[in-house]
């Protein structure tokens, strides 16, 4: 399956991940990711029909907290690390489209 991983696939994934790759990086990553996925063929090829997926090693359930207000950060602390803050808000360059 991973032999099918193409340079276009890698370019598409880079867009999804918001990374710009140079042509050289595209080539390198395509080759390296293929290598890793080839190694992963050992599990991709397994028949695990009926085996449950484990997202968590221990079966904790219903971990909740009481609906009680806790101290928030001060606005200065919130904005302290902001690359650009204006009018008490985080400023960003224009947004191209609405949220999906």
């Amino acid at each position: 399956m991973s032999a099918e991983l193409t340079r276009d696939d890698v370019a598409k994934v880079a867009r999804l991940a918001r990374l710009t790759l140079s042509d050289a990086e595209l080539d390198l990553f395509t080759e390296q990711l293929r290598g890793i996925l080839d190694h992963a063929e050992d599990i991709a090829a397994l028949n695990l029909e009926g085996v449950e997926a484990t997202a968590h090693p221990f079966g904790l359930t219903n971990v909740v907290r009481a609906d009680e207000v806790r101290q928030s950060l001060s606005r200065d602390e919130v904005l302290a690390a902001a690359p650009d803050a204006r009018e008490g808000r985080f400023a960003v360059p224009r947004i191209l489209g609405e949220a999906p």
């Binding site: 968590h56 609906d67 606005r75």
Partner: protein, 478 residues
Amino acid sequence: MALPDGWEMVIGLEVHTELKTATKLFCGCANMFGDEPNTNICPVCLGLPGALPVLNERAVELAMALGFALHCTVAPSTFHRKNYFYPDMPKDFQISQYDLPINSNGYLDLPDGSRVGIERAHLEEDTGKSTHLGGSGRLQGADRSLIDYNRSGVPLVEIVSAPDIRSAAQARAYAAELRGILIATGASDGRMEEGSMRMDANVSVRKSGAPYGTRCEIKNLNSLRSLVRAIEYEALRQVELLEDGGVVRQETRHWDENLGETSTLRVKEEAEDYRYFREPDLVDLAPSDEWQSRVRAALPPMPAERRTTLAAKLSDPTEQQLDAVTLAVDLDLDAYVLFAYAKGVEMPLALNRATNELAASEVGVVNLSPENFAETLLMEQRGELSATQAKTVLSDILANGGEPKAVAAAKGFEQLSEDSLVATVTGLIEAHADEWGRYRDGDDKLAQFFIGQVMKATKGQANGKAVIEILVQRRAGS
């Protein structure tokens, strides 16, 4: 509005409601609308590296309550990450529920007797809010956007209906009924203008009986009015497109309230790849039977049941009275009506005053207790206040508070004593011997003449019924 002959709308609604909790879904920051920007923020809701979410127990309970009210199956559920980049989302993923939502497979019965299926009602977190600088203050054309994360992490329930709705009016009724349920369960304040209830509509059209057509999702429906207008516009647009031989593209469309139009926002050619996977920082949610029973037991009656309760107190109700019943429940005034009824007020009177005077109050009913409502109406019913006086007393108490008797006294609505009313009527009979004679001979219409005279003489303080009683007694005794 109706579509051209042979066409039918198919509508499904997605309603996002903010839950009325004290804190956010995954952290202890206040869930508060309208505070100074970026003041209800902590490492968790700002998505700082290393911060971890912990689920709000109350949010789970409100979601379950909503599930029960919508006849859903409340089942073990999990949280997923929905991955996409957007600046109002601090982690660049949204924690939501995916293949295992807390509530699924329910329904909502509407006042007209129709039933709309509920596919799911799941928990998720809200995003922050952007304001746009430059341009016209809208997203398009802005130079820069500013982000306030106060809303980030506020608990939401997304309620997804089945595509069972067949008209804009039915969509409106669904949204209104759902809003009533949100308020009744305490899940939400249902304030659309503050964004605590937001709607998207999936609209398609088809020839009656044909398979479903391609649907468009309409966003930005912030009121029942825009819901209706947008659906009607969109359905007609699709029918015209199809009748002209065109095809409907699956897309997301934006409703412009000022233009009264929908327009393309995004074409769904390539489905968004959200890379959903289980949120590893949260554990499964599997409410025990005991927890579920506790939530179910605390559930107050829902609007449909409350309407039935009210309507049952009316004998042979008119269409108008049934509308008043719906309105009384919508406005959360049915408890006042029922209280007054229990105290001996006649149902039509209680319903009438509730859906008119109480409904008109700009400050709500905080100043008027159910006791004082009943007392005012009893005074009216006993003839101690005229209808006009009773309305004035109610309006005054609604605005300023106070006890009915004291307010009536302060207004000079001192009830005429029985004796003085008799004396007044006696005097008028003597002054209008001709009219009295005709009344005595059986012309009942003249009772109105005497009532009018008495009202004039007493500046409206007399009770019409009491006047008639005196007239009847005098006629019988003469």
